[in-house]
């Protein structure tokens, strides 16, 4: 079994991103920067109806607009649309304005159909059906372990709560889209994706081409978070437009489009009952949860869009009854979203844990230490509590003086984050000492090039800047999709193997007994005129899965305005072998900020009257800004014996739950619905008068 070196020069230290100069100077070409020879703009026409029967789409007038080179319907003939924003047609033209004019010139003959966009409306008996042959609310079957009713009667303390989380929209800073060139030789797509291989396969399947005729390139991309594995309607339409217009088509979605049809995190409405023995030992748990994944009953584009959530999440309870109901509504469907199912699960369960702690008169950290089955997380709670000053900060709920109350809370996470065996790579060593390492992986923004350079430099005794890293092209050996926190544990062992084998072959071929470090140039020179190309693949024993992680939050809540200010978040995260400290910390910061948005700001707002998404922009779909971001303290547990583990996802899981618990601790009452807005805080405090205005 291979093993990582015990003494390291780069691994577990901090190497600045090797591509930082390219990124900050604007030389890095993102998918949205690609300007292929003779390229056209592409745009999509979307349904204005939340539900409608489309009789005819007339593209004639659009084709008359000067500059328009192609216009295509997404589907031929009659069709049904089931959500506002569903794709109807697409156009390609020489300017953005020509495309906008063309979209307005397309005539759509449609008959509006009844629709329903809110979970609670959709559950009603007489609600319009999203799908004609099935009820909106699929009856989930309760799963029971042990004897729940009996067990609740044996509890010393039982709490009940109704904890809800909103639909969270996918809004990576770079929107979805690509440039596609389809010629007789095949298709080349410059895609903003987290899976170049899956986009290649999606395009090949959708266009009925051989996979070998499709090449996908992603030099740089601006975030995906689970929503960018597939070619998407936008990718397929860009390809068809390119074919029709005989030119490359760049079809990047607008921010408006992003709010409608590129996936989201399902909502959850969790009715939880939780009971414990007098010493705090959890004894009985019941969850009745429903939520919506939009029109999709579950997964699309990479999976993970189901409404079911793990329960009772990270805890072991001997008696449990769990039921999930997926509610279809006329809205864009769910997709995998950074740690699918886990943030809502964490918010519901960890809120219930704190409510139970209050009822038991126990310190919430003590209650977790008592019940958390993970030794690693228990250690993290101990470490975190010490670092955070938990014992000094934790006060009786609502007991801090003055109108602005301070509170603290904590929560834990779990995530697999292991590597995928399929990963392959290659190295090309040149006689002049240059080395290029090539993997068909893409950088989701996490620092993939840097990780490859760090591992290669470590094995070869070189400096990271001596390694030329080539990624983001399906012509390179196949790499993993960047999802599930699997990238780092997939590529690190692969690069280890590639470089170990390359070193062995170099030494064997040149007779240099140790070609590393200072000996490298002389050994390479002995290659003569041909470079050495060596393949390698993922190896067992260098990575594993199963990260934990806990977070602590301190919040100040103004009880007279309802505004929440998060002062501090402390994250204690086990990482296995840390490959590169600084890019890892960057991921933790990003995860926490995303969790902060989920806690306080983000929410898709559907209008039940018109069926539209009311906040399809950053003016009203609110994301954290610099002024909202707290002090973030990061404690990383380096555990080389476990090998590399991905932690991009666990670091976002407990943030909202910890903030929610801090707010509850500050106020002495719980705001059990995310996002925690001033309106909800004031309502929880009983300060909001009932409506008096007549709606008429």
């Amino acid at each position: 079994m291979p093993s990582w070196p015990a003494e390291t020069k780069y691994i577990s230290h901090s190497t600045l991103r090797v591509d930082a100069p390219a990124k900050v100077s604007g030389r890095a070409r993102y998918s949205s920067d690609i300007q292929a020879e003779g390229w056209l703009y592409g745009m999509i026409l979307r349904s204005k109806w939340p539900a409608a029967r489309i009789a005819k789409i007339n593209l004639e007038n659009a084709l008359q607009i000067p500059g328009i080179k192609a216009a295509l319907a997404v589907k031929e003939g009659e069709s049904i649309v089931r959500f506002y924003g569903e794709e109807l047609a697409a156009v390609a033209g020489t300017t953005k304005q020509a495309c906008l004019d063309a979209l307005r010139a397309i005539e759509v003959e449609a008959k509006a159909l009844p629709f329903v966009v809110k979970e609670n409306d959709a559950r009603a008996e007489d609600a319009p059906r999203v799908w004609p042959n099935s009820a909106n609310a699929g009856e989930g079957k309760p799963k029971e372990q042990g004897s729940v009713d009996q067990a609740f009667s044996e509890c010393a303390a039982v709490i009940e709560g109704f904890y809800t989380t909103p639909v969270q929209l996918h809004h990576p800073m770079e929107t979805h889209g690509c440039t596609v060139s389809w010629t007789d030789e095949g298709v080349t797509a410059w895609a903003s994706t987290q899976g170049i291989s899956s986009v290649r396969d999606g395009l090949a399947g959708g266009l009925q081409l051989e996979q070998s005729k499709v090449r996908v390139i992603t030099e740089y991309m601006g975030g995906g978070f689970g929503s960018k594995f597939g070619a998407g309607v936008e990718g397929l339409m860009a390809a068809r437009l390119s074919r029709a217009a005989k030119a490359p088509v760049r079809l990047m979605l607008t921010r408006f489009d992003q709010a409608l049809a590129v996936g989201n995190r399902p909502s959850s409405f969790q009715k939880i009952k939780l009971g414990a023995k007098a010493d705090g030992t959890l004894h009985a748990f019941e969850l009745d949860n429903y939520g919506t994944a939009g029109i999709g009953g579950g997964s699309s584009e990479g999976g993970g869009g189901d409404v079911a959530i793990p329960a009772p999440y990270i805890y072991k309870v001997p008696n449990t009854r769990v039921k999930h109901t997926s509610v279809a509504v006329n809205a864009g469907s769910a997709r995998a979203f950074r740690a699918p199912s886990n943030p809502p699960a964490s918010f519901g369960m960890e809120s219930a844990m704190d409510d139970l702690a209050v009822k038991l008169g126990m310190d919430p950290v003590e209650l977790r230490l008592k019940n958390d089955p993970s030794a690693v997380r228990r250690r993290e709670y101990d470490l975190g509590a010490e670092r955070f000053g938990w014992k000094q900060k934790y006060q009786k709920p609502g007991s801090s003086a003055g109108p602005v109350k301070i509170g603290v809370g904590c929560a834990g996470a779990t995530w697999w984050g292991g590597g995928t065996k399929r990963t392959q790579g290659e190295a090309e060593i040149h006689p002049d000492g240059g080395i290029e390492v090539r993997l068909g992986v893409q950088d989701l923004g996490t620092g993939t090039r840097t990780v490859i350079a760090v591992v290669a430099a470590e094995i070869l005794g070189l400096k990271p800047e001596q390694i030329t890293v080539k990624i983001g092209d399906t012509h390179y050996p196949p790499g993993p999709g960047s999802g599930g926190s699997t990238t780092c544990p997939s590529i690190s062992p692969t690069v280890f193997d590639v470089c170990t084998q390359a070193l062995q072959q170099l030494q064997a071929q040149t007779g240099v007994p140790d070609a590393r470090g200072d000996n490298w140039p002389a050994a390479c020179k002995k290659l003569g005129t041909s470079p050495l190309v060596v393949h390698g693949q993922w190896q067992e024993g260098l990575s594993s899965g199963g990260a934990g992680g806990v977070q602590f939050a301190e919040a100040a809540v103004d009880t007279e305005t309802g505004q929440v200010t998060v002062n501090r978040i402390l994250c204690v995260q086990d990482c296995g072998l840390i490959v590169n400290q600084i890019t890892l910390e960057s991921q933790v910061n990003g995860g926490i900020i995303m969790g902060l948005g989920y806690a306080l700001y983000e929410e898709r707002v559907m209008d039940h009257l018109s069926g539209v998404v009311l906040n399809p922009n950053f003016e009203t779909y609110k994301l954290p800004g610099m002024a909202d971001i707290p002090q973030i303290d990061i404690v990383l547990l380096n555990m080389p014996e476990r090998g590399v583990i991905g932690v991009g996802e666990p670091v976002t899981i407990p943030t909202a739950a910890a903030i929610g618990n801090a707010v509850a601790n500050a106020l002495g009452v719980r705001v059990s619905s995310l996002p925690i807005t001033p309106a909800k805080v004031l309502a929880a405090l009983g300060k909001v008068p009932p409506p008096t205005a007549k709606p008429a």
Binding site: A679, T692, A693, A696
Partner: protein, 320 residues
């Protein structure tokens, strides 16, 4: 957006002539360009007014300060004397948008901006304000909407400057049919109170040229609370201005934003405050008077306690 002509005016007279009845004045463009891109408005001609001389000045006076319509929000925010003389105006400016927006946003544009109601701004809803039959917000998602209105539309005024300027009893000077016309700030929005399709009282072709602020009120303050800590619209905003002598108020004015189509004031509250000690009972009673008759809807009731807090805090902060 639809096609338009573009021209630059060098005087207010030529601006008026060039704009005619189907034109729009372009200064910072923050609001206007958004409206054009969403096809909410399609003027035939955009008249760039940034080159008109004399409208970009802040002029201090012993009785009245004059602020030109082309003065940027950032200029107000960073002007050291305004900070001392009209701290409420400074604070109102500092809360507008982001630094990038404040750098180009002008006083005239801030005052003349249109509704931010998410139904009005949505490309696929035809609400009452857009000439449709229904105020969607009234029946649906109204968390950001009015507690007071004179008509059926519940889209509130969101201009920060209008709230601070109302409390400071400023006058807006505009050119209407070639003549200077003076309005109080509430008068500038009166039509939006009366008429669901109006955003303010400006007629086509009207051009705001300056505001005049009397210096009598030596203390002023502006507070807002938003969902986020920066770069977000106020849920409720509140400005207060007064003289304070020996702990007693005189000439006090309180105005609130985001709860009415016009800056919300109460004449009874302003009268009540005259000569009163600046203490908790005084401000609590003033808040009662100001919020009397508030009509919360399904999702905006939180604005009542929030407004009450901001009235109290804004007034109490005048103690200095």
């Amino acid at each position: 957006m639809n096609a338009f002509q573009y021209t630059t005016a060098l005087s207010t007279d030529s601006a008026r002539q060039l704009a005619a009845d189907n034109g729009a004045y372009l200064a910072g463009g923050n609001d206007l360009l958004g409206r054009l891109k969403e096809y909410l408005d399609s003027p035939k001609i955009l008249v760039n007014i940034k080159s008109i001389a004399g409208l970009d000045r802040i002029t201090a006076g012993s009785r009245v300060w004059t602020i030109g319509a082309l003065v940027t929000v950032a200029q107000i925010e960073t002007h050291p004397e305004i900070r001392a003389v009209f701290p409420g105006l400074h604070q109102a400016a500092a809360e507008v948008g982001s630094p990038q927006i404040r750098n180009v946003a002008t006083v005239g544009g801030n005052l003349a901006q249109h509704s931010r109601c998410w139904y009005y701004r949505h490309r696929d809803t035809v609400c009452l304000k857009k000439g449709g039959d229904l105020c969607y917000a009234r029946h649906s998602e109204n968390r950001y909407h009015c507690l007071f209105t004179g008509n059926t539309c519940i889209s509130p005024v969101v201009s920060n400057l209008s709230i601070a300027l109302t409390a400071l009893d400023a006058k807006v000077i505009l050119l209407r049919e070639g003549k200077e016309t003076r309005m109080t700030v509430p008068e500038l929005y009166q039509k939006a109170w009366d008429n669901p399709t109006a955003h303010n009282s400006l007629n086509p072709g009207d051009l705001i040229v300056k505001v005049e602020i009397p210096v009598g009120r030596t203390r002023s303050a502006f507070l807002q609370v938003s969902d986020k800590h920066a770069f977000d619209w106020a849920l409720v905003s509140c400005a207060a201005a007064a003289r304070v002598n020996g702990g007693k108020l005189s000439r006090a004015r309180v105005a609130l934003g985001c709860i009415s189509p016009m800056p919300h004031q109460s004449a009874a509250a302003n009268e009540f405050l005259e000569g009163k000690p600046l203490d908790e009972p005084t401000v609590a009673h003033a808040a009662d008077l100001i919020l009397q008759g508030a009509q919360p809807l399904a999702f905006n009731g939180y604005k009542v306690p929030l407004a009450r807090t901001l009235i109290r805090r804004a007034l109490l902060s005048l103690k200095g």
